[in-house]
Each structure stands twice: as structure tokens, then as C-alpha cells.
Symmetry: C2
Subunit: 434 residues, 2 copies
């Protein structure tokens, strides 16, 4: 369809939502994508740009002039515009900013660039509706009409004092249902949830979803209202956070998608595969150390995979529960209580597994009683150990300020694999006396 | 603090947000919790109830009379009220409903009970602001003021025809910035995103976050506006979905938390541990079958854990990417293309791992050239196989309408463990000729 340029294409795309057009463009090659972006006018393309995959957007922006980019940015909210400017090459940033028509807008974008992307300041937009506490409702409504022109969704009206400090809020609903001649000072609600510019995005997400907020004002170090974060940005934060944790648990270290290049995918997976391999080689040296014993009791070796699989599974289960509990703030109380509980849980699960094992190994694999008992006890110990390690490592990392999610997946599996095999042979040695 | 009843407690709790009180109550015992709920008045306790853990809420409601429960429900939005009614024992439901003061509210709650919890109908609330297309703006504003009293957040004003069919929407902002004497028919926006009552919650979440919506109207089979879903409910859906997938990947089959009882935690973990154990025992029989070979080439056995760990890791990585891609709808194109890509990716990763292995095994474990090469080739095959299986199973399950997330974690690890060991010995057999 995209080979010949025509106005038919234009009218075709007119009725399609920008998020859908973005999906189509993600599938096109660079030339076709640039062609479409140039064809459409900037109030639509600016929204499309925000929805594109990072790499597609980068290549399209590379084909646009500073002036064309500035035109797109003029149409966008400050937070989205700042995100795009942040991705531009350094030499381009100044050119683009200087070509922005709306100077107030340009100032806001530059302000936002100062903030760490990974903070409330990096998420917030400058667009909001605020009124001074000293105004009366009439001035307030007039001012609001002007301000509302620039704000996609109004949500709350924030009340500030003469220094710009956040004092409270007025709800839109109150404004619809109240008489029109009062002082703002006398009607505003002084309790308003807010976050500091330096707050972490995950914490903002937690606060907003706990209190069911759809927008939250952001204040700076001295309490001045500097911006606003809306729930749609928080939905993205929650999704990204969940994806990151999920991928980390699966041993994928960077944010990749199924459609990325083989090279990107390999880079993301390789470190974890290497860790797994080192674990496997570690296990190999342990087995080498016990090789004489294995010639005496060859039955021991056939249960190596069982020990390894069980240790890995238990470790991942324990760590996943703890990591999730830490993320949701539902883990309270002392670390020792937690470890004690996991120990007990490991003991219950381990004994149950050992019971099943004893029956199957005796009838299925014709092990001697002594061998069965030795392996059964090893199994319980391996399970308890894996449960305790799986609980301890994430809590330990969290106390040290490291993201505990890194502890799930290959990391915990590998260490439990190796430890499990070591415990297995050590206990067998004690019981079978080789 | 809770031993002596006093009004001091009441004034203390007055200034605390209901979500925070709910967190405190979750930590108390049943009597204390019930005592606090009875102490506070129902406009606050009703909100607290919605935020409590399921089991805590259940035990508190068990201590309240039908009339007390009805009083709480009168304060709640229809969707939250219906959720609570849905949790009550059957004989209680009718009593509670009959005691509701607001009969319109009671009717709405009963309507909502009809819907499957796992559908848009089960998520939506009846509270919304709607206007008839035949009204003029004046009537409309008057009506809105009345309706807005019952709606916590207005968001959009929906426009319906005489039969109640959804025609479009009016934005609040337009109403703030437009003159007051026009017909609704002439000013409403006829394009409005909406979902069907039978739509799945995950699909509603996808649509709302794709189009950055904060509320979406729900229509029934013949197009009538029956309710509205707001973004705060969708945030909960996204969180729950992410937690479920994460736990499934870790081999935990029910929604449990770190603070649940040992019995609950055991039930959730046990099935997966058993699958892992069966896998381990399966591997044991495979090794038994090759036992003679192992006495001739004992070096083979020390690399069993390596094969198993690598197969497991690769399988989980591949399946996690595919599961996530399926959830985000970013996997396009034919299944064969996807499999081909994973095959290539597996080959690249496998060859790289085999290269590292060859060097380490030669110098570290003094394997012969033939042994090294046989094991290296087995490693590549195991990796490719795990990648293909890890890709194929989730796609296959998805086509069958089964949640592909079940394929990650222990399920894929276990099958790859067993297959990996089988492949390992089979290839070693071919090369070493035992």
C-alpha cells in the first residue's frame, strides 16, 4: 500500500487511533515509517511518536530536521516531550529546543530534563491546573478555563499560596456542585496526597494504587508544586516493573522483546547461561571428588538430577514469595521469624517428598534400606537448605539496597544446585561410610 | 492500645486514611478487628472493608449482622458492594440485600452479581454520569449535578439515545469551556472506546493502557450502556495478573502471600515439587539405562548437572520471552518463523557455551579429545532442543486456549531436565560407541 504516495492513504489513516498507527509503523521499514510520519500532520504524529518502540522512534527522528522535531514537541505534553528530547543526540537537543515556538513550553521541557528518569521528577508533567488560595471562586473559574486549554485531563485543581507552595486541592465535583462566590481559602481541602520529586517511581506507584489516586501532585524540596503525575504513566511503570521482575526471574538481564534481534537476545541471556554453566562445572568438580564412592555405591549417581531439580525448585519458590512480599511491603517482622517459618515449611515439604521417594525408590529402583534412608535424609536436608537460602538471599540483598529480584531465577537455582549436590554426597558419606 | 475502649482511639483513627487503617486491622486478631469496625462509622468502615485481606474481611463480616453489613454496602460503590456480597454465604446474601436502604442501589448490586467475576461485567460499576442525546446543555448540566452526587469520579459524560444505547461522550473539559445553550446531539463526540460485558479483564486492561484511558464504558450485547470500568480497578487487574504470572513461573500455583499459613503455602507449592520429583525420578531411570556405559566412561556422569542446569535455564529463558510476548500481543507472524529464530538463537548460544566448555573441560577435567567433542556436541544439541521446546510449548498452549504462563517455571524446567539428559547420553553413545 505504501509504494505510491496518495491522499487516499491520508484519509485512511485519519480515522485510526494513534496507538494503532504506531503499531503499524513498528512493522514498517525506516523509509516507509518516515514517509508516513511526514505525511500526517503533527498533532497526530506527535502522539504516534510517543507510542513507538524506542529503536523505531530513534531511527525516524534521525531522519527529521530539528525544526520538524520541534513542531512535534510543541504538540506534546511536557513529560512526553522531555522523554523524547532525552533520547536525542546531544548536539541535536539545543537546536530542537531553540526551535520550539512556545517558549513557556520550552522552559518546562528543559526543567524536566534536569530530573533523573528514575524518579518522580522524571515521570511528572508540568501541565496542571492550579489556583491561588487568595483568589475567589470567580477568578478561579476564569483562570481554570485558560489553564484547562493546555491540560488533557484536569483531575484535581491544586491550591497554592503566594510562594507556590502546595496547600491543598479543590475537587472538580465540588466546583460543579458549589455556589460561585466564596474565597478559595475557605473551601479547599487541605489534605492532599503528594510525593517528592526525588521519590522512586515504584514508590509513587505503590502510593497511587494504595490510595486509588488518578493523579498526584509533585513538590520540590521546599514544598513548591512543580508538577503532576497521572495514573496512565503509573500503569506503564507497573507494567515495566512487572516485566523486569519476570524476565529477571527467567534469567534475562535486559529489557528485550521476542521481536528483538538475535544479537540483542543473546546479550540479554548470555550472562545467566554462563552463571548456570559455572554452577554445572562446580557440581562436576564436587562429583569428581566423590568418584571413588560412586563406584562403590553407583545407585547414588542416578539420583543426582533429583537432588538438583528439587533444590532448584524449592529455592525459586521460596525466593519468589519473599521477593514479591518485599515489593508489596507485606513482609513485616524480624528476619529470623521469616527464616524460621521457611525452615519449618521446608521441613514439612521435605519430609513429604522423602516419603514419596522412599516408596518409589524401594520398589522402582531396588535400593537397599540403608541407601534409601541415606538418600531420603539427604533430600530433606537439601529441601530445608534450599528454602532457607531462597529466603535469606533476597532479604539480605534488600537490606543492602540491591534489587532482590536479581536473586530469583538462575542465580538461586545455580547456587542451590551446587550446594544441593554437596549436601547430598556429604550426607550419603556419613551414612554409607565410604 | 486496643485493650480499653475509648473515644481517644476514635479521634486517633479519624485522621488516618482508610487504606492505612485496613493495613493495621490486617495485623490484629478477629475480636480486635471487629471491635474497631463496629467503633467507626460506616462511611469509613465500608472503604476499609474493601481494602482488607480476603480472609480478614470474611471473619469480620461473619461477626456482623445482616443489617450492619447492609449499612456498609449502602456506602459503597456498586462494584465494591457486589464484590463483598459475592463473598457472603448464600443464606446471608438475601437477608443483606433485603436490608439495603437505597432500593436503586440494591437493584444495581443484584444486577452486577449476575456477571462472571472474570469479565468486564464483573469489574464494572453502575455509577456513571449519562445524558440523553435529545437533551439540551441546560437540562444536561442540571441532571449531571444530581448524578454526580453518587459518582466518586466523573471522568466522562456518556451520551445515550432513548433506548439507552451508547452513542458517544461529552468531555468535562468541553463542558467547562463551551457556551451553555446547545443541543447535546450537536456537540457530543461520537467516537468512544467501549468494551462488551463479556470481555476478559486482561483485554480491558490492554485496551485501557494502550489508549491511555481512565474510564471505559461497558455495553451489553445489544449496545446499551450498562456500566463503567475505572482505571483504579484496572491497576489491580494488572498487578494481580503480574503476580500470578510471576508465581506461576516460580512454581507456586495459588495466590499466596509470605504471611499465609504454612498449610496454605505447602498446598500451593506441593504440586510443582511433585512434578519436579517425577522429573528427577525419570532422569534416574534414564541414567540407570546407561549405567554400563558410565562404568566405561565415568567422566560422563560428572557433567550431568551441567546438562541439566543448562537445559533448564535455556528453556525458561525462551518460554519467558514467548509468554510475555503473547501477553503483550507483540508476537506476530507464523509459529514457524518464531521457532526458526529460537533455533538459530539456541545454536549461537549453544556453540558459545560449548566453546567455553571445551577449554575448561580439557584443562580442568582432563577429558580426552573425543570425550570433549562428544560432550560439546551434546551441549549444543541440548541447548537448541531446550530453546525450541521452550518456545513451542507456550505457543501450543496458547493456541489451545490454555494460559501459556503455566508452561514457564518447573514445568518447562522438568521436561527439559529429562530430555536434556536423554539427549546427552544418546549423543555420547553415538560418539563414544558404547
Amino acid at each position: 500500500i505504501e509504494t505510491k504516495n496518495n491522499s487516499a492513504l491520508l484519509s485512511l489513516l485519519e480515522d485510526i487511533h494513534y496507538a494503532d498507527i504506531a503499531e503499524i509503523i513498528n512493522e514498517l521499514n525506516e523509509d516507509e515509517a518516515t514517509y508516513i510520519i511526514k505525511l500526517l500532520n503533527s498533532d497526530k504524529t506527535s502522539d504516534i511518536l510517543t507510542e513507538l518502540d524506542d529503536d523505531v522512534r530513534e531511527s525516524i527522528l534521525g531522519n527529521l530536521s530539528a525544526k520538524e522535531i520541534a513542531k512535534e514537541l510543541d504538540e506534546l505534553d511536557t513529560d512526553d516531550a522531555a522523554d523524547i528530547v532525552g533520547e536525542l543526540p546531544k548536539e541535536m537537543v539545543q537546536q530542537v529546543i531553540s526551535k520550539l515556538e512556545d517558549r513557556e513550553h520550552a522552559k518546562d521541557i528543559v526543567d524536566l530534563l534536569r530530573f533523573d528518569e528514575n524518579s518522580a521528577g522524571g515521570l511528572m508533567a508540568k501541565e496542571l491546573v492550579k489556583v491561588n488560595e487568595n483568589w475567589n471562586v470567580l477568578t478561579c473559574v476564569k483562570e481554570m478555563r485558560v489553564q484547562a486549554e493546555n491540560v488533557t485531563r484536569v483531575h484535581s485543581i491544586y491550591v497554592v499560596d503566594d510562594e507556590g507552595k502546595l496547600k491543598g486541592r479543590l475537587s472538580l465535583k465540588d466546583l460543579l456542585t458549589t455556589s460561585t462566590k466564596t474565597h478559595i481559602k475557605d473551601v479547599y481541602i487541605s489534605k492532599v496526597d503528594h510525593v517528592n520529586v526525588n521519590e522512586k517511581p515504584e514508590e509513587v506507584a505503590r502510593i497511587m494504587s494504595k490510595y486509588d489516586l488518578e493523579a498526584i501532585p509533585v513538590i520540590d524540596e521546599i514544598g513548591r508544586l512543580v508538577g503532576r503525575i497521572t495514573i496512565d504513566d503509573i500503569v506503564d511503570v507497573i507494567r515495566e516493573e512487572a516485566e523486569k521482575d519476570y524476565q529477571m526471574a527467567a534469567g534475562i538481564s535486559k529489557d528485550v522483546e521476542a521481536d528483538d534481534s538475535i544479537w540483542e537476545l543473546t546479550k540479554a541471556r548470555w550472562p545467566w547461561l554462563l552463571i548456570g554453566m559455572m554452577g554445572g562445572l562446580g557440581a562436576a568438580s564436587i562429583i569428581s571428588g566423590f568418584q571413588e564412592a560412586l563406584t562403590k555405591f553407583p545407585v547414588l549417581l542416578i539420583f543426582i538430577p533429583l537432588m538438583q531439580a528439587t533444590a532448584g525448585n524449592v529455592g525459586v519458590q521460596s525466593s519468589a514469595i519473599v521477593v514479591q512480599g518485599l515489593a508489596n511491603d507485606t513482609i513485616k517482622g524480624a528476619i529470623w521469624g521469616r527464616l524460621g517459618k521457611e525452615l519449618l515449611l521446608g521441613l514439612v515439604n521435605g519430609l513429604a517428598l522423602a516419603f514419596v521417594f522412599l516408596i518409589i525408590s524401594h520398589f522402582g529402583f531396588k535400593t537397599t534400606y540403608l541407601e534409601s534412608i541415606a538418600i531420603g535424609i539427604a533430600l530433606v536436608t537439601v529441601v530445608v537448605n534450599a528454602a532457607v537460602i531462597g529466603t535469606f538471599i533476597p532479604i539480605f540483598l534488600n537490606k543492602r539496597g540491591i534489587d532482590p529480584a536479581i536473586a530469583t531465577g538462575p542465580f538461586i537455582t545455580t547456587s542451590n544446585d551446587v550446594l544441593g549436590i554437596l549436601i547430598y554426597f556429604s550426607i550419603a558419606k556419613v551414612f554409607l561410610g565410604f
